[in-house]
Symmetry: C2
Subunit: 227 residues, 2 copies
């Protein structure tokens, strides 16, 4: 059976979105590595990745619109194409967060180094894992994997809260490192936002596959509160 | 000429999205008023508004998918329907930000009152103006109005930067009000995110009306840098 033009377009859309996901992961990875190694060059490389992300976003949106216009898609295809457009927007905003982290890291590199009891790379690893799993769930059309991402979001929120409490304490003790502590706080907040985007992607996958909207008050939220 | 079922559905979609926009504005307004008046009851009312927003989001998405499935829409209608889905997602996240602000405000109300040189209500008024104008641009299909929103985003970013600088200074002087200062910083950051969502909506309006993607590196960005 030969594949129709529509089916080929759907495959291309999926492929392009995966490349986009790879770029978004790269952007966050570069920003966090730039922070960890205090490497301005690596931080600057994030801005290049972001340009590539912005170009990819436009191409994906145009392709999705072309596919919607090409024929009257079936319900499941409709859900898939519109999910792609939403995931696309989320990945672009992951890129924006990476830029914010890189900007904060560059500022930090220009300040005296301060010992802070915060493990940003560990938090970043958890967040990157969420993005990767959300994309895997999308490729595999696997809602169970997507639900695992939703659970990880709670862990990241807790990490972000811990960062906040630890930094308030440090600023109390040592007001002279307030700026450094605030920069780290905002990096933590940016990572938390990346986790939110991963959560959005996971929800879009579940919506696409199950055809039921689980975003607010769905059954899995009930099972969460029973944990 | 009688309107077709498709056209009636399109009208309904627009109406529902406007109601959604009103709810999102209400949520932010209640959160900021709750902060200003130190009124926990008003802060709690934000959570109710958010529930209404979440219900509205689901209905709008389902209606948009129904319309996409109903017939083979023309390119301009496709762009309109997919723009509605994106605007819908942004408005829902405005509601999330309002919840964050309300949570911070409730925390602040539980702490000793601190004099801080920050005018959150003024910033909130600018941000609310952006959301309102972005929705007006959408109703009117007016890309010029949408471009005005993009310019306002720079103003809000500048306000957020000023808040940051002013609070770092205050925390330096008076470490005992660090927690209050941080809460206000995060409220400012939440408002800045609401402004980002208004910007996203404005960009979607421009994309829908002009059919050209101006999101990254479009002509109006060039005219910005000449300002």
């Amino acid at each position: 059976m030969t594949r129709t033009r529509f089916q080929l377009g759907m495959d291309e859309l999926k492929q392009k979105l995966l490349v986009m996901g790879g770029l978004a992961e790269q952007a966050v990875d570069r920003a966090v590595e730039g922070y960890r190694r205090r490497d301005v060059k690596l931080c600057n490389a994030v801005f290049e990745t972001e340009s590539a992300i912005n170009r990819a976003e436009r191409e994906i949106d145009e392709l999705a619109l072309d596919l919607l216009a090409m024929q009257q898609p079936m319900a499941v295809d409709l859900r898939f194409i519109t999910a792609c457009m939403k995931i696309n927007a989320d990945l672009e905003r992951v890129g924006d967060q990476a830029v914010n982290i890189a900007e904060r890291a560059i500022e930090l590199i220009g300040l005296p180094q301060a010992e802070l009891p915060i493990d940003i790379p560990r938090m970043a690893a958890t967040v990157a894992g969420m993005v990767r799993r959300a994309l895997e769930a999308f490729i595999a059309g696997n809602p169970d994997l997507a639900e695992a991402v939703l659970k990880m979001d709670d862990i990241v929120d807790r990490m972000d809260d811990e960062v906040y409490i630890a930094l308030v304490e440090r600023m109390h003790e040592s007001p002279e490192i307030t700026r450094q502590a605030l920069d780290v706080l905002l990096i933590s907040r940016n990572l938390e936002r990346v986790a939110d985007h991963a959560t959005n992607i996971a929800e879009d996958v579940i919506f696409w596959v199950r055809g039921a909207d689980v975003r607010h008050g769905g059954d899995h939220f009930k099972s969460f509160s029973a944990d």
